[in-house]
Symmetry: C2
């Protein structure tokens, strides 16, 4: 309960002015070695820490980044979040979390975001209305969309190259001798889901094929499982299912193996998307397209800081992913990675 130490206290004890203290604690400022020493000494003795909030009020920069997210149950996000936080901390920023609860309107979130004077926003929720993005940009707060893009080029976005990824999956599947490929897609309202589906279609078309079924599971594992049931019991059973997200792919594999008694990949091949940690565990051993999380995070941080600190323009980046070949899909000889 002794947190009443102010810069004035330090100044007095060090025999200097408040400005001097301020300068010592401001990276780009000028202070003589002697002054710095005295100030640091006094500060340590008193246990002084500059008040970031007060600083934010006057500088207009809070060094706080708002993170808008929903559904940490998608295993792709926890890891990304961890890396993002660490990368930001290294630059002297911190994440303030805005979890979009189920019913809770986006309006409230926007209010809070603005009230806290965040310097920027990372929007990592697929379900996020464009309202948020536009209203914040309007207020002068740069927002970068993570793992989702918008056609509007005035908005910053970082994604992996989902179209190329979908196409790579198609090529792999065809090379493996599959002829009846079904696709259980991510939400078609989201670029991520759409691009993967389009990539698959393009890759299939290259060889004169097309998917025998494409269903939107909205990134929901339960829905994906249900679709898998229907597809498999359908007349023309697929020999491969490309699932637009690992989390859904696990649910599909579970359904196939444990409920329908089918072998993966013996009866049906399954390919996912993301390469979350679980995909590499032997229980699933899922062939999947790896999103370059680390580079995506790097790009996100760069974009954000470029806009905040350098005032640069928004840009969009699509980083290449990589097919990780494991055992859940039949493959041609020589395709072992």
């Amino acid at each position: 309960m002794k947190d009443k130490v102010t810069s004035l206290d330090v100044a007095r004890r060090a025999g200097v002015s408040r400005s001097a203290v301020s300068r010592v604690f401001t990276p780009g400022a000028s202070a003589s070695a002697e002054t710095a020493r005295k100030v640091r000494e006094a500060a340590d003795a008193l246990g002084y820490r500059p008040n970031s909030l007060a600083r934010a009020v006057v500088t207009g920069r809070s060094r706080i980044i708002g993170l808008v997210v929903a559904g940490l149950d998608n295993q792709f996000y926890p890891g990304a979040l961890e890396q993002l936080s660490i990368a930001l901390q290294a630059e002297g920023y911190h994440l303030l979390v805005f979890m979009s609860a189920a019913g809770d309107g986006i309006a409230r979130t926007i209010e809070d975001l603005l009230a806290y004077q965040v310097d920027g926003i990372v929007a990592a929720s697929v379900e996020m209305s464009n309202d948020l993005v536009s209203r914040c940009e309007e207020a002068g707060i740069p927002v970068v969309m993570f793992n989702r893009r918008q056609d509007d080029p005035r908005l910053s976005a970082v994604v992996s190259d989902n179209f190329a990824g979908g196409r790579a999956v198609a090529q792999f599947l065809i090379a493996g001798g599959h002829e009846r490929v079904a696709h259980i897609a991510g939400w078609q309202e989201a670029s991520t889901g759409r691009d993967r589906a389009a990539g698959l279609a393009a890759g299939l078309a290259d060889q004169g094929l097309s998917a025998i079924a494409v269903e939107d599971a909205r990134f929901d594992p339960d829905r994906a499982a249900q679709i898998a049931r229907e597809i498999v019991n359908d007349g023309a059973r697929p020999d491969a299912i490309f699932v637009g997200g690992d989390r859904m792919a696990f649910a599909v594999m579970d359904t196939l193996r444990f409920e329908l008694g089918l072998g993966v990949p013996d009866d049906i091949s399954v390919v996912g998307y993301d390469d979350v940690p679980l995909a590499g565990w032997p229980a699933y051993d899922l062939t999947t397209l790896r999103q370059p999380v680390e580079r995506m995070i790097g790009a996100t941080v760069d974009m954000l800081l470029d806009r905040i600190e350098e005032g640069k323009c928004p840009r969009q980046e699509a980083l290449p992913g990589q097919l990780v070949i494991r055992g859940s899909a039949r493959r041609a000889r020589g395709w072992k990675h």
Copy 2:
């Protein structure tokens, strides 16, 4: 870039004073209906939002809670974090994330925590030094430890009853006819790991048994897998392994089944702790002790708010968990839950 709307602007447009505006936006303050109406109208027209940071400077309350965490790869945390954030938002607080990076010293984290004037701290990192806790409490910032406790009763803590949990596992295992129980424990420096181990020992002792092996895997799945290998190849192979955390239990099951070719539970029973979502998936179908996450979060928020807003004293709470019986461990008839 029009975020320069200040309370003065609103005051002018509404024909009142800044104080009036302030009062309208302060829950407990007095303002006539007429004034409130005028102010709200002007505020909406101008797009005014009170600046939380400026408010924080003057009130001394930031309505920000620091979250200190590391290792979101433990699937127990993402869900807890999501719930925590939502619960806090409902009370008008937000989480500021402090991710303990690997090498990054705790000292820096403390500095930042204090600088941002957080009203309270949730410490959810097992690896966190007591230094942080004591220094923050010293500075008058309440911290509640989540999923970990300290013997010092002056510190707030929320855990599940890990001792009772460990004991329940022992009883279940014994009832299932197991006689050679091994324990791959969580970090013995952490209360969570210790209590579970002690509970198991007590439960075993009740029946005149004791564990044939107890090894500390420090919550690390790789280490757990390695220990599993050693234990199993040892002379006296266990008929059951109690693993002190689901994440480690999965690794142990993988090792047993896919590497050692053993059946679970046919050759060896495995029981975990936490009940993360994956435990319920058919690929693992893990019998485990469920931690009451929702209630733990509720208690955490209550404690925090009690201390922040009511100035109440620290307290500790140990919530009861519940054994969730699935298929990874042999069980006695009638034990199906």
